[in-house]
Symmetry: C2
Subunit: 193 residues, 2 copies
DNA sequence: CCACTCCTTACGAACGTTCGTCAGTTTATT
DNA sequence: AATAAACTGACGAACGTTCGTAAGGAGTGG
């Protein structure tokens, strides 16, 4: 119970202030305990951080897998556009994605390799899942034959990252506008006819 | 001279470790002085940071303005693609863009408002400059009439951010692949005929 | 029902280290 | 001699971490 609360507030503080900027004192005071008590549940700051990171990474992957599972019957157009919007909603609802992006882009120096490796595997798996959808959509003639599967999926993940980035700024109006524009142009470039 | 060296190494450390993660001791030791000597040139860490931020922001805007000035005669296609590639090269060459992105996305808490305001003005100005190019390109029939100027420029800036993000990961091979794919799909969606 | 032990969980106090910062002094340059 | 720039030394504050201990609950034996 307490361990869960620690994880929860640690996520918030790591997301907001980064690894170095988040202090165990701040985290524990939100939980309602002293910083020393954290050591009853975690060996130190690093272990707490990595536990939070692990949690987030698992949930992040689960979200992708669940969405793709539920949307396997949709057309490519509806599936991709839905994916963008579901991810956007999730981004607004949870700190997970923001945390994950922050640590993927700017990991704490002494945990860099560990985190980068994990993120690369995460990214590879996501691309793999997506590409199989593009593959089957291409065979159904939903994509223009001038656009290869690799290009379409690579451009889509880049689009997704671009949307994330815009949301990091926090300006919701602008990010919605960009999502709309990006998707409009993207689909014009990919669709058949 | 010394002040310039301090700025230079401060930029490197702030870029690599963030505001909280970069210590005056580390910065000064690279310069070859003690950390207290920094106070001969800057009132404190905040002033040093803001000076570096200011430098970077100015250079960043200058780069955009210069490129657009030199490329005003090109076709939209060549201008935009060149812009992507020049920015990518600059990103590899300098720490400026990486620093700017890091601080725009995750500013130190107590300087947040100042930085966010500055970045918003920066972004507004960039979009303004770009839109005038799209405007004139549209009137020359270089863009498809189904794609509005706002959409095309919003999608392009999102594309640019997506490329930046990919470069933050550091995997150059993957980011080149994504740049190619993003641009290919984007231009298919925007071009006339 | 009581007394005893065991285990968990929280805390106060303190650790050593690093942080940014200030004051005073020496060195070097003009 | 004067001025700027580097130094030494020290400061309080905050950091993550460790230690010993006290409070409370669970389970056991008398």
């Amino acid at each position: 119970m307490t361990a869960e609360k620690i994880r929860k507030f640690a996520l918030i503080h790591f997301t907001q202030n980064g690894y170095e900027g988040a202090s165990l004192a701040d985290i524990s005071s939100e939980v309602g305990i002293k910083k020393q008590s954290i050591y009853n549940y975690f060996k130190g700051k690093d272990e707490l951080f990595l536990a939070v990171f692990q949690d987030v990474a698992v949930r992040e992957m689960l979200f992708v897998e669940d969405y793709l599972k539920c949307s396997s019957l949709l057309t490519l157009e509806n599936m991709l556009y839905g994916f963008l919007n579901e991810y956007r909603k999730r981004y607004e609802r949870e700190d997970d994605t923001k945390f994950f992006l922050r640590m993927a882009f700017f990991p704490p120096g002494h945990l860099r390799r560990e985190i980068v490796d994990y993120c690369n595997r995460h990214l590879d798996r996501t691309v793999l899942l997506l590409e199989s959808f593009f593959e089957s959509a291409a065979s159904k003639g939903e994509m223009h034959s001038d656009v290869s599967v690799e290009r379409a999926s690579a451009a889509f993940t880049a689009l997704l990252d671009g949307v994330f980035v815009e949301m990091l700024y926090g300006d919701m109006e602008r990010s919605l506008k960009r999502l709309d524009a990006s998707w409009y142009v993207y689909w014009r470039g990919v669709k058949n006819s």
